[in-house]
Symmetry: C2
Subunit: 240 residues, 2 copies
């Protein structure tokens, strides 16, 4: 069975302006790799309904899953839910179960369940809610698009819920060979070596830390034994 | 004059697998904001020639500048230069001035200028070289696409060179109002306030740090005086 594929859509002016450093992409990448789902593309777009809808429509047709982050809060710049509804061509309104969840949450806190807070119950028709164990306001999935909050703690909690419910592949494993040699010195041998293992993905990543130069050679695949055999052979070839 | 627009294309399996945390996007975002160039989209794609070429062609038609990072080293997984040549439909070969730069560099170090190292002199026809003050191997620009290394120190040095040569707009400035109030409490008032300043972009970013909850309200624009006036008014409205 071929692994499922995925894309991510990060929504937020604050990332593109450099105000905030996105951390959800790295978290999602690690989680998907661990769950055997291949992340093949990420896009970051501004808080622009048309840009969001276009990107969602391009990605949901090309990959098995699309994970979005950002823009589902109560303020005027939170436009993701409406943009997703527009992308799918479905109506959006205050949904009863989401209103109940949020109403009970604010009642417990003695806070007014005002118009702005009620906005977080606006969900495209036909969506499934994504549980938010951190701050209650739910995310949602429409078909293969999973719409989650941008705040990392909430994004991570929502993602855990989504991943528990979708089919997993075999985790993608990796092995690393750290060499204190430059890429240019080992590139030809490494390229020839990689060609002998067409079932493994191999990449070369130069580093320069505290004046120490070298190269990390990374082998990726699904079979631990096969990776260990390849790593030993590569080490014999280049690390002697 | 309207500010110029830009997109970024990050090339690298290592980002999508979660092995490496990209930092070039955040650096580019901050630099472009400071130079008055609007970063409107980022894409991250795998080490896949077709994916790279498609993304480059989509972005270079839609924005004034495209900045790429990654995939221009000497190893077999460094395929960016060929993918860019394919995207533009131009030939690629070992270029004399790049060969001279690299040949002299390796001669100085007493290292063999082997085939792998010579690969870094493969440049699409018609490109302009981008100086690499860190490790010599150049980046290049084809029309409005600026192709740079993925190693952060090299990316940053190459970017400084490119930015010194392209037209700048007015830097986008920002002001921040930090409130110890939830978004849901101030959302309606903030939305109405934002509607009174259509020339400024306003965003709301909740935070939860060490048990302290609150909201950062961010105002963005090109005119410092106008921003200060708006910030004072917003502070009177919400921070009293």
């Amino acid at each position: 069975m071929t692994n499922q594929t995925a894309a991510m859509l990060v929504i937020g002016d604050e990332i593109l302006s450099g105000r905030t450093r996105d951390s959800n992409m790295h978290h999602l990448a690690q989680q998907l790799t661990g769950h055997g789902i291949e992340l093949l593309e990420v896009r970051v777009v501004a808080d622009d309904p048309l840009a969001i809808a276009r990107a969602v429509n391009a990605l949901r047709g090309a990959y098995d899953h699309v994970f979005t982050s950002g823009g589902i809060g109560p303020t005027h710049d939170d436009i993701t839910a409406d943009a997703i509804a527009a992308a799918f061509g479905v109506p959006i309104g205050h949904r009863a179960d989401a209103m109940d969840l949020l109403g009970a949450h604010y009642a417990r806190q003695g806070l007014d369940f005002n118009d702005a807070r009620q906005r977080m119950a606006r969900i495209p028709d036909g969506a499934r809610l994504i549980d938010n164990p951190v701050s209650v306001a739910p995310g949602f999935s429409v078909e293969n698009v999973h719409v989650m909050a941008g705040v990392p703690r909430i994004f991570e909690a929502m993602l855990a819920g989504v991943l528990s419910q979708i089919a997993h592949g075999k985790p993608l494993l990796s092995r690393n060979l750290r060499l204190l040699r430059g890429e240019g010195e080992i590139a030809t041998a490494f390229g020839n070596f990689a060609a002998e293992y067409p079932d493994l993905a191999m990449g070369s990543y130069p580093f320069n830390q505290d004046g120490v130069f070298g190269t990390n050679l990374v082998l990726r695949g699904e079979d631990a034994t096969r990776l260990d055999v390849a790593l030993a052979a590569l080490s014999d070839l280049l690390a002697k």
